[in-house]
């Protein structure tokens, strides 16, 4: 029943995208399309949410007579799918709401409106798909529609190249998944998930499938070193689409990985966990370092998506390791941590991208070095963005901290793992996680501080105005969710129980009965966290302090210019910039990771010329993984291209050679 409803929603979205081609040019088109998208995805959100919470009418299956003729298109709804549908449609609904306002600034609605609903439909369908063909079909559909959205502003420099890289990497991932499913389905091609689940592959084959799934899903989710397209493509799209791509589409990729590895692949082997978790740790660390070096606001956010994907994969890897060692409860904890972080990241990453979109539409700037002081002009946006920054920096009492706390708890359970490699690996991963959490905080002090605080660095920033109410509504809904999920995590964890039960064969103790709404992953004595109590304490303490001070201290206040240290220069250029803010961290990590070099040209004394400083950084990952491939293809293309310009005699020689070779084959084959 629920499944039919969801499919109807998808159908409505597809119909909308077709209709959008017609209405795109009208003025009302934007409102109509986003309005419909909002209503539909809100409905889908409601359906999926009720399915997840009540568990009613889960595991419905449905087969439509399309797609592969002898197989049909199969759709299936279970706890895992329901959870990810909640994530997808929450993001879609808020993005549509944001688009209601933001879309009015769109200069080429004809290139955005038709593809936006199709993109939403694609993401929903991937999660609903019940056989390999439908899964890949919708997966690629999702990529294609999002590619079209990335190409929407194709005339801006760099966007076309970003779209190109994106589509190539997406197709590469699809190829890997294709091969994975080819292995799972076997030679006579029974692609239905039921059939695959019924006959899980042998251990060796399963290892290959895992690697392929890691490549396929990882290239979409942005696992290092397959992440290169992400920071280019996500910012290139319109901001609400960037929010969807970063906050939601990467989660769909995570869904694909979980579906294949936890559901279809049978019992895991311990080294899977080691591999996945290690990749996750490296991804988190590299992602946040890249983000720190970035001063394009949207690209910074995209790199943080890479970081959070890494955190999610750490959780998944730990879950695999625990499951391989039959530590069901621990596996459930790790999986819960990962999935909860999936939800949290989708919330605050969408929020942050909305904020950047509001800034972009208010100032036309994405470069933080040209912003500043926006908190005075756009206070509400600033507030929402601050909440998002605190959440993504894993600060209590917001939701980001809870999921990272759960991940730490899972790490602390891992000494129980018997394998030595894991014993050595897991603490290192924990260190990486801690490091990237701290660096993320630094990075968002930079992002919020340089963008919203201080003095405006350009006229665009000085003349900015607060964004429209639709966008604000979208942002504040998400900000509220960040706080609620942070202080009442118990309910969310309980909602995840059926998922972990289905995948890991266990679930966390039921949380909502505990007094004071504490969350207790394993046992009271072991560890517990109480967001509500912390929140109340902080509120109480702050209230007490403020009250006492306003009661007894002097309320006198005098405005004055800031202390200039005897060097009065009103120019806002004297402020700390994003680059200078991250300089110390660049000095600490940069030499190793980026081969960062600083060149300082100091004019001789008496020369009034400006001193200059250049920072050179190289992306070693690109140099190691991608440059060789590109070079190889170019080389082969150049060499083979000579064949285009031979004489007819030479071509005849080719024919003759082929003939002689085949005849020799015949003569020898006998």
């Amino acid at each position: 029943m629920a499944l039919q409803g969801l499919l109807w929603c998808v159908g409505a979205l597809l119909a909308t995208s077709v209709a959008a081609i017609a209405v795109a040019q009208r003025r009302a088109g934007t409102a109509v399309v986003y309005g419909i998208a909002l209503c539909v995805s809100a409905t889908a959100l409601g359906v999926a949410g009720t399915c997840l919470v009540t568990g009613s009418s889960l595991t419905g299956t449905l087969t439509l007579p399309i797609g592969l003729p002898w197989l049909g298109a199969r759709f299936r709804l279970d706890a895992l799918a329901a959870f990810f549908l909640v994530v997808v449609n929450l993001g879609s609904a808020t993005a549509s709401l944001f688009g209601l306002g933001y879309g009015r600034h769109e200069e080429v609605p004809g290139r955005v409106l038709p593809f936006f609903p199709a993109f939403l439909a694609g993401m929903n369908l991937v999660v609903l798909a019940g056989d390999a063909f439908t899964f890949l079909f919708t997966w690629e559909l999702m990529s294609l529609s999002s590619w079209a959205l990335v190409m929407a502003h194709h005339r801006r420099s760099g966007n076309a190249a970003a779209g190109y890289l994106y589509l190539i990497m997406a197709s590469f991932g699809t190829l890997a998944l294709l091969l994975a499913f080819g292995l799972l389905a076997g030679p006579n091609g029974d692609y239905a998930f039921e059939a695959i689940r019924a006959a899980p592959p042998a251990a060796g084959v399963a290892g290959v499938v895992l690697a392929l799934a890691l490549v396929g899903a990882g290239s979409k989710a942005g696992l290092v070193p397959l992440h290169v397209w992400l920071p280019l493509a996500h910012p290139a799209a319109p901001s609400h689409v960037s929010a969807l791509m970063s906050g939601v589409m990467t989660k769909v990729a995570v869904y694909g990985f979980v579906r294949i590895v936890f559901d279809l692949l049978g019992a895991p082997t311990w080294w899977w966990g080691a591999l996945v978790a290690l990749l996750g740790g490296v991804t988190a660390f590299m992602g946040v370092l890249h983000a720190l070096m970035e001063h394009d606001l949207k690209r910074l956010l995209a790199y943080h998506t890479v970081e959070n994907i890494g955190i999610i994969f750490i959780g998944l890897g730990l879950a695999l390791a625990f499951e391989a060692n039959e530590m069901r409860a621990a596996a459930a904890l790790a999986l819960t941590a990962a999935l909860f972080h999936v939800f949290n990241h989708s919330v605050f990453k969408s929020l942050l991208f909305f904020g950047s979109g509001a800034v972009l539409s208010a100032t036309g700037e994405r470069d933080m070095e040209h912003l500043g002081g926006l908190i005075h002009r756009m206070p509400l946006t600033a507030f929402a963005f601050l909440v998002g920054s605190a959440a993504i920096s894993a600060l209590p009492p917001f939701n980001g901290f809870v999921s990272e706390w759960l991940t730490f708890q899972a790490i602390l359970l891992s000494p129980g793992l018997p394998q030595w490699l894991l014993k050595f690996l897991v603490p290192a991963i924990g260190a990486l996680l801690a490091l990237s959490a701290a660096l993320a905080a630094a990075c968002f002090v930079k992002a919020f501080g340089v963008t919203f605080l201080g003095r405006p660095r350009t006229d665009a920033a000085r003349d900015a105005t607060e964004t429209d109410r639709y966008s604000l509504a979208a942002m504040f809904i998400l900000a509220a969710l960040c706080l609620i999920a942070g202080i009442l995590p118990g309910y969310f964890i309980d909602a995840l129980a059926p998922v972990t039960q289905a995948l890991a064969g266990a679930h966390l103790p039921r949380q909502e009965e505990l007094d004071w709404l504490t969350i207790v992953p394993v046992a009271q004595s072991r560890s517990s966290y109480n967001g509500l109590l912390l929140f109340l304490f902080i509120a109480l303490a702050a209230g007490l302090g403020a009250e006492a001070i306003h009661r007894w201290a002097s309320g006198a206040l005098r405005r004055s210019p800031p202390w200039d240290c005897g060097f009065p220069d009103p120019s806002p250029a004297t402020q700390y910039t994003a680059g200078s803010f991250s300089q110390p961290i660049r000095r600490v990590f940069g030499e190793v990771v980026f081969r960062a070099r600083e060149e300082v040209h100091m004019p001789p004394p008496g020369d009034l010329g400006a001193a200059q400083m250049h920072v050179h950084m190289r992306d070693l990952l690109w140099d190691v993984f991608y440059a060789p491939i590109a070079g190889l293809v170019g080389f082969a293309a150049n060499r083979l291209n000579k064949v285009q310009f031979l004489t007819i005699r030479a071509y005849l020689t080719l024919v003759f050679g082929a003939l002689v070779v085949l005849l020799m084959v015949l003569a020898i084959w006998r």
Binding site: H154, L178, A185
Partner: protein, 482 residues
């Protein structure tokens, strides 16, 4: 029914001949284009009737499950191409690249080509088929050279020579087949008739069959455009009139491949002969790899899509070489969809080249801005030909790669990676062609979009939903091919 069937078969062959004669004689150039289209339409209708009424196989002609698919497809594309050619040729006359005299010649040759291909598909006789293929080759040679520019002449000449050598090889193979057959089924026409050959294939001398297949594969493979026999194909596509490029890519290659398939079924019927699969697989894979790398350095838009045709012919040959019901099904479907998609792409490209006045890709930019229909049409076409959903080729490539991977993982990986390389090249060009700031003339194209949309609609629907009747049909044929 059978008499109606034979009448229909007669119609499929006679209509082109008669109309060719008419078109050669009629002077006026306004009506001839539409006469051409009408004739093609009638041919298509009568071919479609063959689904219902089918004659019993004769000494010279036969209609069976395999070739009826081909004949309907080729007459359909022939019809749509003639519609496209009407608007295309009108523009050529205005710009004066063609004189009315050449136009008469062109239309007559067009119908002759149709006749040749239909005959090749319908013939129940290896010799007759050989003659028909040679006929269609000669007509296309003449049409490729129709612009009389040095480049066109050179392309035609190259095509002519390589084609002739191919024909010679094919003839030798045909003779060997006859030699293998006539000691079993006796002399005369029986020893060249398909149905007889396939029935008696098991008793033939394996060694002779092997030898003949080598020659036939190379001979007709030259027409298919398999690497390293492909050299004529890119230039012939690039220099001839665009309708001819569409017909070449959409139809003539299929006809040659059809011949190879016929002989493959004979080979696989004989247990003693060497399996034809490995040969076809290796040639196909070679073509795919080679063509995908050749795509990168192309600057002429039609030549680029010609190389993409080589690539897809390689995929189809690979699939048929793999064999097995799934792979054969995928091969048939891929061939059908490729014909539709590639001819539609050439329709787009033809109009684009006309409005922009060049085939040099660096001079064509930002089409989605200046000519939205053509630009997005090109995007759609490239997405379809690159195997992206929701277009049908995704399904066939999905089937081919997965089934291959289960059997020969290495081959599947190589195939998949080279498909990726090809996609990379096409997208790279597409970025320049369809996106970015427009460049060149922005005057609206006087184009007939109906054929383009018709083909794309078919491809799109095929990607989402295949009619069950068609599926059963293809599966049946796939099982026949073994």
């Amino acid at each position: 029914m059978t008499d109606l069937g034979s009448f229909i078969v007669g119609a499929v062959l006679v209509i082109p001949v008669v109309s060719a004669a008419l078109l050669a004689l009629l002077p006026d150039d306004r009506t001839t284009a539409w006469l051409n289209a009408t004739a093609a339409f009638l041919t298509f209708i009568s071919a479609a009737v063959l689904f219902l009424a089918r004659p019993s196989p004769g000494r010279y002609l036969i209609v069976d499950d395999l070739n009826v698919v081909f004949i309907v497809l080729s007459t359909f594309v022939g019809f749509t191409t003639s519609v496209f050619s009407a608007s295309y040729i009108a523009h050529e006359l205005e710009t004066g690249r063609l004189t009315p005299l050449y136009l008469r010649f062109y239309h007559a040759m067009y119908q002759t080509l149709m006749f040749g291909m239909n005959l090749a598909l319908l013939s129940n006789n290896v010799g007759l088929m050989w003659v028909a293929v040679e006929l269609s080759t000669l007509t296309t040679v003449l049409m490729v050279g129709i612009y009389r520019t040095p480049a066109a002449l050179e392309a035609a000449w190259k095509y002519f020579l390589l084609g002739s050598v191919g024909i010679a090889l094919a003839l030798f193979g045909t003779i060997l087949v006859y030699l293998a057959a006539h000691s079993v089924v006796g002399e005369g026409l029986d020893a060249m008739a398909w149905d007889v050959l396939v029935q008696n294939a098991p008793q033939f001398d394996p060694a002779l069959l092997n030898l003949s297949f080598v020659f036939l594969l190379l001979g007709y493979g030259t027409k298919v455009g398999l690497v390293p026999l492909h050299a004529w194909l890119p230039d012939a596509h690039a220099e001839g009139p665009t309708p001819i490029s569409a017909v070449l890519s959409g139809l003539l290659l299929n006809v040659a491949l059809f011949a190879v398939l016929r002989f493959k079924s004979i080979m696989s019927a004989n247990s003693g002969a060497l399996a034809p699969g490995p040969l076809m697989v290796s040639l196909g894979l070679l073509s795919v790899i080679f063509a995908s790398f050749m795509l990168y350095r192309r600057t002429d838009i039609k030549r680029m899509f010609a190389y993409s045709s080589i690539e897809h012919m390689g995929i189809i040959t690979f699939a048929f070489g793999m064999g097995g019901p799934l792979a054969n099904f995928a091969g048939l479907l891929h061939m059908t969809l490729h014909s539709l998609t590639k001819s539609a792409i050439f329709f787009c490209v033809g109009h684009i080249a006309q409005v922009k006045g060049t085939q040099h890709m660096p001079d064509i930019r930002g089409l989605t801005v200046s000519h939205p229909v053509l630009g997005w049409g090109l995007v759609f076409g490239v997405a379809a030909i690159g195997g992206l959903p929701p277009m049908g080729i995704f399904m066939t490539e999905f089937l081919i790669v997965t089934t291959t991977f289960a059997r020969y993982p290495v081959l599947a990986v190589v195939l998949g990676l080279s498909l990726l390389v090809a996609l990379g090249a096409l997208l790279l060009r597409l970025n320049g062609l369809s996106f970015g700031d427009p460049h060149g003339s922005a005057e609206p194209a006087k184009a007939s979009f109906v054929p383009i949309f018709a083909h794309f609609a078919l491809v799109f629907v095929a990607g989402i939903w295949l009619p069950p009747a068609l599926v059963i049909w293809f599966q049946h044929v796939a099982n026949l091919l073994g």
